[in-house]
């Protein structure tokens, strides 16, 4: 298959790349651009470890091909911390004890980011709906739900 040229904006920076159109966005981000905060847990769109935000939508980057991601704007977890320090969601995940092995954490944080953008004051059941696509085997989820509530509170203030 011929390589194609694509343009991608990742975390506000734009990249020109030559890749095969059927390469997974996950591999482009991890291998070509070194955003290793994006994780691969299953490779078939089931676990959410590879979650990124693409043009404002949550996607599983293992299910998106480079050709489909052409000209899109991507946000990965690496974008969240700024000179002003941690993003409130990151702080909340630490404070609420929502991190154990951490493999699901980048995906959880990005799903939370989108959830709170759409709904700044979600109920616990809305939080569950928003994070349904992200598996975590360690925490039992309760402290993750707590973290989202805490983040929402911090972001509203």
């Amino acid at each position: 298959m011929q390589k194609i040229e694509i343009n991608l904006t990742v975390n506000q920076r734009s990249y020109e790349l030559k890749v095969k159109p059927n390469k997974r966005l996950l591999d482009v981000l991890r291998n070509d651009l070194n955003f290793t905060g994006v994780k691969e847990g299953c490779g078939i769109g089931e676990c959410g470890a590879c979650t990124v935000i693409m043009d404002g939508e949550i996607v599983n980057s293992c299910m998106v091909l480079a050709g489909q991601a052409r000209d899109s704007e991507i946000i990965t977890v690496e974008d969240l911390e700024s000179e002003n320090g941690l993003h409130p969601i990151q702080k909340a995940f630490i404070d609420a004890g929502a991190v154990q092995c951490g493999f699901c954490t980048p995906g959880m944080i990005l799903s939370t980011l989108n959830l709170l953008k759409e709904n700044s004051n979600p109920t616990r059941s809305e939080i569950k709906d928003g994070l349904e696509g992200n598996f975590c085997r360690c925490t039992g989820y309760k402290q993750i739900i707590d973290a989202v509530e805490l983040a929402a509170e911090m972001m509203r203030d």
Binding site: T36, V38, C47, Q90, C101, G102, F103, G140
Partner: protein, 731 residues
């Protein structure tokens, strides 16, 4: 008493920033990718491996069994080869290894290999294995018996003899990060193994034996793990060997990272089990005798099955049973080898023990709580091995807490009434159930004394302290717990405390990170090391405020200070491993649990709506982490009880991934109310004992008990899937 500061996890920042480096994130240049070609038959003779002649093999590194001199993975036995030579014993068994520059090359190469087999008769099911084992000893990996008193005299005194059989299925660890290692050769005579490795010294030992009689030196460097739950305890020895063999041959780094499908189909799981019990009960409901035949399916190779079995036969409930005989069998079948998983035999035995209690309640028309209360261990009682429970025994308090919080007694009756009067209209049944559970801390029996566990600590030039152990961070929070122990001891901030990499060239063998021993055993050595450093630096004074200043001075005058401590059990902890008598564990952790469920009468699905648990884990070093462990274990237990359904067809694991192996999602989380009972253990660090496994083992029996409350039928099988419940209700 020491103060416990409230700082958060030491590794949280890296993890929320996406900066933690798991093995797949390592940037190793010029690496090759490794792949495994596997058996398609459960039992067969390999006749020929054909490498297509018209394919260009130049860039492909190939390994077959004949290339390997010491072709066994060192574990308890040496029966499992790195690559099958002439006989394959399960579907998925490795036969050929390949490495190439990229995935495309690799796939082409795989398509140019053909393996010819002559098929043999496999042993696949419990029934086949049990009947085959009757006349062929080599189909039993291990047989053991724990015994006290005399069952047949108990039978004569009994008013009731009750028997039944229950079964548990596989459970997959389903760590979010799949298995993976990378072997990096260095100057011809060194190989570094990096990877998602729970027990670096297990791998070290396996590699030392694989490369014995060569000049090759190995070191094993464990990355932070994206979860493990036992799944990366034994298995990394196999794939580390694969990567190391390929890397040595190629003289290039070789990475083997499984995708989820390969991981689910070929790596070890929780042993399926079958327990047949006969119990002699008097008219009050007291158990006076018990006979159990408990079998676990070990799969094709021995791995850790004997020790899993031993823990199972030593964990048959929290009851005093005067005449008891438990026969355990670890059986060999032509299926994927099973090995370590959080709980390690405990979940299987406790499910059987708790269903025995439920069955007695049904037969004698008592409540399950009454039968538990009549038979529950009391302070000073002796367990089946003769070990007394006369210290750190928080079970009665756990039970009281959980009954109180859940309002079990009232709801038990209410739900029964609801089910009779209202369920048809409502479309669901309600159930409330309970379980009692225990988990022995550390290795079973004398294991800990054989280990000679050593942990070290070093004082650095700037007065900082470095903790040096082989205990790996897999999400359970061991790094944080250790820093906290030292921080509390010296009243130092975390920034003054460092943790050495879990690299076998840098850390002593402090034993595997398993068996809920990291805090209880290694944590104690850390406290011992703190004592030693304090005595040197402060010369027996107690004023800690000057510690860092004095430490810097000490270093200036005396140079580097490194101390070590070696673990020994308390003196009275003695165990006879032939008879299975004495102290099987230095201490037990205990729990009481209550689950509430709703059973949908249209779909036969169960929702766990509430879960109450009270857990005696000794002193909680980090209460927030302890609660996090409880919640995580609870949810993993819910999956085990209800929907983590893995099955085989003709020896082949049918499940492919999270599509058809369903683990709990955020939608499956009930309200969880957890509390901790801190029955201090005098020999643990600040009174701590184990907890990492206790949190899971009591969950499934509590849910199964709730199902009985809902259906009035004994739950004989987990997972209790909708198909199973449908059949149960039809009975």
């Amino acid at each position: 008493m020491k103060k416990f500061n409230k700082e958060k996890r030491v590794d949280a920042h890296k993890k929320i920033a996406g900066e933690e480096k798991y093995v797949s994130d390592l940037n190793v240049s010029d690496k090759l990718i490794g792949a495994t070609i596997r058996s398609e038959y459960a039992h067969a003779k390999i006749e020929e491996i054909i490498f297509a002649q018209d394919f260009d093999w130049d860039d492909i590194v190939i390994m077959i069994a004949a290339d390997i001199k010491n072709n066994y993975v060192a574990m308890i036995e040496k029966d499992m080869p790195f690559l099958a030579k002439s006989i394959v014993n399960y579907i998925g068994e490795p036969i050929v290894l390949l490495a190439a520059k990229n995935r495309k090359k690799l796939d082409e190469a795989i398509n140019n290999i053909e393996i010819k087999y002559e098929t043999l008769e496999p042993v696949l099911t419990f029934d086949e294995a049990l009947s085959a084992a009757e006349n062929k000893d080599d189909l039993i990996f291990k047989q053991m018996q724990v015994k006290r008193g005399n069952f047949s005299t108990a039978v004569k005194r009994a008013n009731f003899i009750i028997e039944d059989m229950v079964e548990t299925s596989y459970q997959e660890q389903a760590y979010m990060e799949p298995q993976g290692v990378i072997a990096i050769p260095k100057n011809n005579d060194k190989i570094e193994i990096r990877g998602s490795i729970q027990c670096p010294y297990y791998v070290q030992n396996a590699m030392d034996q694989l490369f014995a009689d060569t000049d090759i030196k190995i070191n094993v460097n464990a990355n932070p793990l994206g979860g493990s739950f036992g799944g990366k305890e034994d298995f990394p020895s196999l794939i580390s060997g694969h990567a190391a063999l390929l890397a040595h041959k190629a003289q290039k780094p070789v990475e083997i990272i499984y995708d989820r499908k390969e991981d689910i189909k070929t790596t070890p799981k929780r042993h399926p089990s079958r327990s047949e019990f006969r119990v002699a009960v008097n008219e009050e409901g007291r158990i006076i005798g018990l006979e159990v035949k408990l079998s676990i399916n070990g799969g094709a190779y021995c791995t850790l099955s004997p020790v899993v079995l031993e823990r199972a036969v030593l964990t048959f409930g929290c009851y005093f049973i005067e005449n008891i005989c438990i026969d355990g069998y670890a059986l060999k079948t032509n299926t994927v080898p099973n090995a370590a998983f959080r709980g390690f035999g405990g979940p299987q035995a406790l499910f059987a023990a708790e269903m025995m209690i439920e069955k007695i309640a049904m037969e004698l028309n008592l409540t399950p709580l009454e039968v538990r209360q009549i038979n529950m261990l009391k302070f000073g009682d002796k367990l089946e091995t003769g070990q007394p429970v006369n210290y750190s025994f928080g079970l009665p308090e756990c039970l009281q807490n959980v009954l109180h919080k859940s309002n079990y007694i009232k709801k038990y009756k209410e739900f029964k009434k609801f089910n009779i009067e209202n369920s048809a209209e409502a479309g669901y049944l309600k159930g409330i159930g309970m379980s009692l559970a225990r988990h022995g801390g550390g290795f079973t029996g004398s294991g800990e004394n054989y280990m000679d566990t050593v942990a070290a600590m070093e004082l650095l030039q700037n007065g900082k302290l470095k903790i040096i152990t082989a205990q790996t961070e897999m999400g359970q929070g061991v790094d944080t717990a250790y820093k906290k122990i030292v921080s509390d001891f010296f009243e130092l901030p975390y920034s003054q405390i460092l943790i050495e990499n879990k690299d076998t060239s840098k850390v002593p063998n402090s034993g595997p990170t398993v068996a809920s021993r990291s805090t209880m055993v290694v944590g104690k050595l850390i406290v011992d090391n703190c004592e030693k450093i304090k005595n040197k630096v402060l010369e027996e004074q107690d004023d800690l405020s000057e510690f860092t200043k004095k430490a810097v001075d000490y270093y200036k005058t005396n140079g580097k200070l490194k101390v070590e401590s070696t673990y020994k059990h308390p003196d009275f902890v003695k165990y006879n491993e032939k008879e299975l008598t004495g102290y099987a564990y230095p201490v037990f952790s205990w729990s009481a649990n209550v689950a509430e469920i709703m059973l949908n009468l249209t779909t036969y699905e169960i929702e766990v709506t509430k879960y109450f648990t009270s857990q005696d884990i000794g002193r909680a070093i980090n209460p927030q982490q302890a609660v996090a462990q409880i919640e995580g274990g609870t949810v993993q237990g819910i999956g085990y009880a209800l929907f983590e359904n893995m099955y085989t067809q003709k020896g082949q694991i049918v499940n492919n991934g999270f599509i058809d192996y369903i683990i709990p999602s955020i939608m499956d989380v009930p309200e969880i109310e957890a509390d901790i009972v801190e029955e201090s253990y005098f020999y643990g660090p600040y009174g701590a004992k184990g907890m990492g496994e206790l949190v899971l083992v009591g969950v499934a029996p509590a849910i199964a008990s709730a199902l009985i409350n809902a259906t009035n039928k004994l739950t004989r099988k987990i997972p209790s899937t909708p198909e199973y419940i449908f059949k149960l209700l039809e009975e």
